[in-house]
Symmetry: C2
Subunit: 337 residues, 2 copies
Amino acid sequence: MAEYTKVALDAMGGDYAPAEIIKGAVDAVNKRKDIRVVVVGKEDIIKAELAKYTYDKEQIEIRNASEVIETAEPPVMAIREKRDSSLVVGMNMVRQKEADALVSAGSSGAILVGGQVIVGRIKGVERPPLAPLLPTKKGFSLLIDCGANVDARPSHLVQFAKMGSIYMENVMGVKNPKVAIVNIGAEEEKGNALVKETFPMLKACPEIHFTGSIEARNIPYGDADVVVCEAFAGNIILKLYEGVGGVLVDKIKEGMMKSLRTKIGALLVKPALKETMKGFDAGEYGGAPLLGLNGLVVKTHGNSKAREVCNSIIQCVTFKEQKINEKIRDSIQKEKE
Amino acid sequence: MAEYTKVALDAMGGDYAPAEIIKGAVDAVNKRKDIRVVVVGKEDIIKAELAKYTYDKEQIEIRNASEVIETAEPPVMAIREKRDSSLVVGMNMVRQKEADALVSAGSSGAILVGGQVIVGRIKGVERPPLAPLLPTKKGFSLLIDCGANVDARPSHLVQFAKMGSIYMENVMGVKNPKVAIVNIGAEEEKGNALVKETFPMLKACPEIHFTGSIEARNIPYGDADVVVCEAFAGNIILKLYEGVGGVLVDKIKEGMMKSLRTKIGALLVKPALKETMKGFDAGEYGGAPLLGLNGLVVKTHGNSKAREVCNSIIQCVTFKEQKINEKIRDSIQKEKE
């Protein structure tokens, strides 16, 4: 492939598809000359959307796909049967090395299944983890795994730790990232069976900077850069983050609307408050990579707008440039020696 | 016992012990004539503290205990060896029916161990869960279990659901409480092995109002009254609630301190904001009961001040009046028939 990164973009997945998704593609190519986007989906719809914008026509092409996978569809069936869906067509492009990466805001389940079944795992990777970035007080941390495959084994968690470290160091630019395992106490002897078994394995792993256990309370403070856990726990962490944040913001708005006095105060604090809270918004950092695949698949939030889609596309460039998959392959290979 | 509720209070446990703990006892007896508090701990210290307040001397007595269990001590050893600690002396009072309940802000681990070893389980209860109240958008929900015993079995979770329902209905006054199991999706077929096995058992349980799965995102919105999960997950939920809340409040303060303009705005909104946020503070509702014991043990936050201690003591009255333990015994008994 050439000196640009080619990203297949699922134009039909997500709450704001196709308009915001396509706008994200236009924003990305207008920001960076080293990106080509293949917008995958219903051609006529995509054409009509693209006609609204000015951009270098060389940087965006359209690939027609007649079907759409809906969020509620059973993933395995959807991937198997909707061969001409935007997601499956995009994944096949990655499989056949026609594209370096796929970005989708569509059904998580279908993305996870498609990633494994169509794109395929790097040899030696036991389970590809979905690893979103969580906003923290200091910046962001990688939460690994939040996928759909629960009941992980210790060896899975060790691979998550390695892949997460590589990603944070090389894509996000965090030097010597601190890796911690989610636990119910700081002491090594605490935890459930899985954590107790995994802890010494992580401790013995020379390739990562393992700092021990992290209690959930300390995750938002950014005490670890790579937060390792099994997907059931990861899912709870990711979704509770959203839930508690959402309710607190609602409560604050309610408090600010109480009287004329508070409404005036709200006018004065709002812009600065918005600015501070922006640092606590995951969308700033793009989507969650599904790591350990023969290619890159990035899942952006279902409610992604153009900004997050654009950031997710740009993220793929660093992933390619830094040869993340080669690094993962080497790291997993070492394990087997 | 008489027509009052007798509560043993561990005066030596918690970040603000003994001053705030003892103030909580005084506040409780000054609010309610139907309470007697036995303040357990170093007699001279307690006497000096109590001398600061005015209260009905009949309602508070002192029980000397020469030792203190520190937070960092290994729980099993602490309970076994510190026979004259305030916690062990208080628990023995409950065991010997000298007190209806024990309230402590001390070491969670020691409280959990002592509850089981000294106070003892109700016959048929497999594992006593620790069940804190979580603030939600609508009010509060009971999170059950947050104890130290992880890797629970499905039968444990079913008992948690029953005990939690009894507590919410009779102590917290929530009619026909909605019970849900924490899961990574709404569908019955989702989840880890434990959830998949427990789900149909909860569905088949006639004594509870089971509404299915709850995703972590919806917990803060109050979609369920009794949130059932295994203790590892419960611990993550409880602590992440605190962490995300803490960081968001810090971020808001930071945003409000940015300029003169925002500082003026902050002065105008602060009182109303404080009032709204109070509804999102777990301390309002008292401590977390350790359910299923031959007596009541209530764990209040380590950082409890007088208000939470007072609320926790008052909570014990309803627990006794509503004969919660008899109800739990009946419910567990039915299971065996």
